[in-house]
């Protein structure tokens, strides 16, 4: 591939735009952010992902200046922004509620930030028109926020926060209020706008699909801590913990005892059952408790016994038909229920498997990730 891959986080010469250095935030007895170190680079589309209450919004509000760290420092382009009030930061925030000013027209909403800068009239006008064009809102310039649709309001909020060309744009659940179809369209629009403007985006979301779609890197958070910071594919295919594996997408977790020889791993997972095999680059002690994480789409399902590294027999407990794919819940004699997915490449004239069928499930020794915790 001749194109260079965008990966400033792998380049030691690259200076991060934002640096969190040992940042902790407490509200009374409650620790919202627990000693976080994090670097975010210019032009990144960075996603903070986690369940509600994990601290992702607090982290973002600290970047915007609405909260100050209890301990630690936040640097923007190498400068400590702790003492800088929100209105003097080169950071704009787009709110989950959009926070459009209801008494101002779309045009005036977008011009709001530019007017505060005291730019001259012609410059403001040109910039507002540019933003209206970028977000395809020119037709609605004279309307007020309550006279346009939710999707349009979302674009106004985006145009307004981009108008001042901030170094950093913070997006708090920007697509949460949109319906599924519009949300998917808007995700691509966001990526397009991010690329066109070259602004660094930090997005907060609890929707893992959204994070995976838009982000260059994803930070998975839980209880004020960063669980993993990596590219979407690494988060999905090489999660660092059971928590991350389980939070992103669907996964089967099988607990067992490790038995390692080189990169080969045998896992004793149930009495009377052959050990499962996997490969790993990590080191496990003999008999150490480990967790095998396999994504359902990596498990094949068949009527006849296949050959392969890991082959198990079970009975179909449940079938979830999702249109493009079907998920089979297969109950093993040990009581484990394993989810296996199959793409529905043909229209169903006849289902291949049905409830209570005895089937074989199998996966290769490289299909699973083995985790220590």
């Amino acid at each position: 591939m001749p194109q260079t891959v965008f990966a400033p986080w792998d380049d030691p010469a690259e200076k991060p735009l934002i640096q969190f250095k040992g940042v902790t935030k407490r509200f009374g007895d409650f620790t919202a952010i627990d000693n976080i170190d994090l670097d975010i680079y210019a032009r990144e589309f960075f996603a903070l992902l986690g369940p509600s209450g994990c601290g992702k919004t607090t982290l973002m509000r600290m970047l915007a200046g609405f909260e100050t760290p209890t301990e630690g420092k936040i640097l923007l382009s190498g400068q400590d922004i702790g003492p800088v009030p929100p209105n003097q930061r080169a950071v704009n925030m787009m709110f989950q509620s959009y926070a459009l000013f209801p008494h101002l027209t779309i045009w005036d909403n977008i011009a709001f930030g530019l007017r505060r800068e005291g730019r001259d009239k012609a410059a403001i006008e040109a910039r507002v028109e540019e933003m209206l064009k970028l977000t395809r809102l020119a037709k609605f310039a004279k309307r007020k926020p309550h006279q346009i649709s939710g999707g349009q309001r979302q674009r106004v909020a985006l145009a307004r926060s981009l108008a001042k060309a901030p170094k950093l744009l913070l997006l708090d659940e920007p697509l949460g209020a949109l319906d599924r179809k519009l949300r998917e369209e808007t995700q691509f629009e966001l990526m397009d706008i991010q690329e066109k403007t070259g602004t660094t985006f930090v997005i907060v979301t609890h929707d893992q699909e959204e994070a995976m779609t838009v982000a260059s890197r994803v930070a998975v958070m839980d209880e004020g801590k960063l669980m993993q910071v990596s590219t979407p594919d690494a988060i999905y295919e090489a999660p660092s913990s059971v928590y991350v594996a389980d939070f992103i997408g669907d996964v089967n977790i099988i607990e067992g005892k490790a038995h390692q020889t080189g990169t080969k791993l045998q896992i004793d997972w149930a009495e009377g059952q052959p050990a499962l095999s996997a490969t790993t680059t990590k080191n496990f002690d003999l008999g150490q408790t480990c967790y095998m994480a396999i994504r359902p789409e990596k498990i094949a399902i068949s009527a006849d016994r296949p050959s392969g590294a890991n082959v198990l027999q079970g009975e179909i407990l449940d079938i979830a038909y999702l249109g493009n794919i079907s998920t089979y819940h297969v109950k093993l004699p040990t009581g484990h229920v394993i989810k296996a997915q199959q793409a529905n490449t043909r229209r169903i004239s006849r289902r291949e498997f049905t409830w209570e069928d005895k089937v074989w499930i199998s996966w290769t020794d490289t299909a699973a990730v083995v985790l220590a915790q």
Binding site: A64, N87, Q88, M93, F95, A99, F101, H103, G113, R116
Partner: protein, 275 residues
């Protein structure tokens, strides 16, 4: 019974009461003012010709406008503090603001007699501090009437504005800050325009209330600071000029109705989410 008929049937007792005890008396009062032998508008011509009556009308207007203005300023500042307080303190502050409303108007006006009198608390204090050498006469002035009215009406303004200010989402002021607005600019550009409808409602309440008040001007203004309410009483109960009293009542009704209509039109025009 159709739903519409049922609705009429349900409201019939109330309608009957309103018609009998409000509609009829008001109409008959108005009717008497047009029954003058010198022509239907002779009473009104006499009213607007009389320098004394016009003085009373203008004084009442002036007191009502000043009371409204001070109540807006004091009420807004207080409501802002209340709206921004944490929940527990907020309910305490609201109770404190509403507390005076639990006692009667007469009692509250009377309190000012004690404060502002010749041997009142204020004069005693000023004498003791040596700021004045003899007691000031503060009672029965426009000042005493106005200060008591402000005291009377500020709680109403606070209650109205707390609701309005609380309804302005914090997101909006934060968004303004994020877009580079200083706290003062965010207040001017976002909070104030959004509070306008509440300010108008509060102003209408205070203006009509103070324009039509009776007990406070009677106790603190007396004969010297006659206002429309006290003037009307005097005409009706002292000189038994019922037609003259009715004319005063009609003028008051017109002034308050006009204020309400103009202000509600203005409110609709300035409503942040309309048009």
């Amino acid at each position: 019974m159709t739903p519409r008929l049922r609705a009429w049937a349900l409201s019939a007792p109330a309608l009957f009461l309103v018609a009998l005890f409000l509609g009829l008396p008001v109409l008959s009062t108005l009717a008497t003012t047009f029954g003058d032998p010198k022509g239907p508008f002779a009473q009104y011509a006499a009213f607007f010709d009389s320098r004394f009556r016009m003085t009373v009308l203008w004084r009442t207007m002036e007191v009502a406008v000043i009371t409204t203005t001070i109540s807006v300023i004091v009420g807004f500042m207080t409501a802002w503090v209340v709206a921004k307080s944490p929940a527990r303190i907020k309910s305490l502050l609201i109770i404190a603001a509403v507390f005076p409303l639990l006692t009667g108007v007469v009692v509250r006006s009377f309190a000012w007699l004690i404060i502002l009198g010749k041997n009142g608390i204020l004069n005693d204090t000023l004498l003791w501090l040596g700021l004045i050498s003899e007691p000031l006469s503060m009672l029965y002035t426009q000042f005493s009437v106005t200060i008591a009215m402000v005291y009377l009406f500020v709680p109403l303004m606070i209650l109205t504005l707390v609701g309005v200010l609380e309804a302005i989402p914090q997101d909006l002021t934060e968004a303004a800050a994020s877009l580079g607005a200083t706290p003062a600019a965010a207040f001017r550009q976002v909070v104030l325009p959004m509070a306008v409808p509440g300010l108008i409602v509060g102003s209408v309440l205070v203006f009509t209330g103070s324009f039509t008040s009776y007990a406070t001007p009677q106790l603190l203004g007396g004969e010297r600071q006659m206002m429309m309410g006290t003037f009307l009483y005097q005409r009706a109960m002292v000189t038994f000029d019922w037609v003259g009293a009715s004319t005063i009542a009609a003028v008051m009704v017109v002034v308050t109705l006009t204020t309400v209509l103009v202000m509600s039109k203005l409110a609709r025009r300035l409503n942040p989410v309309a048009g």
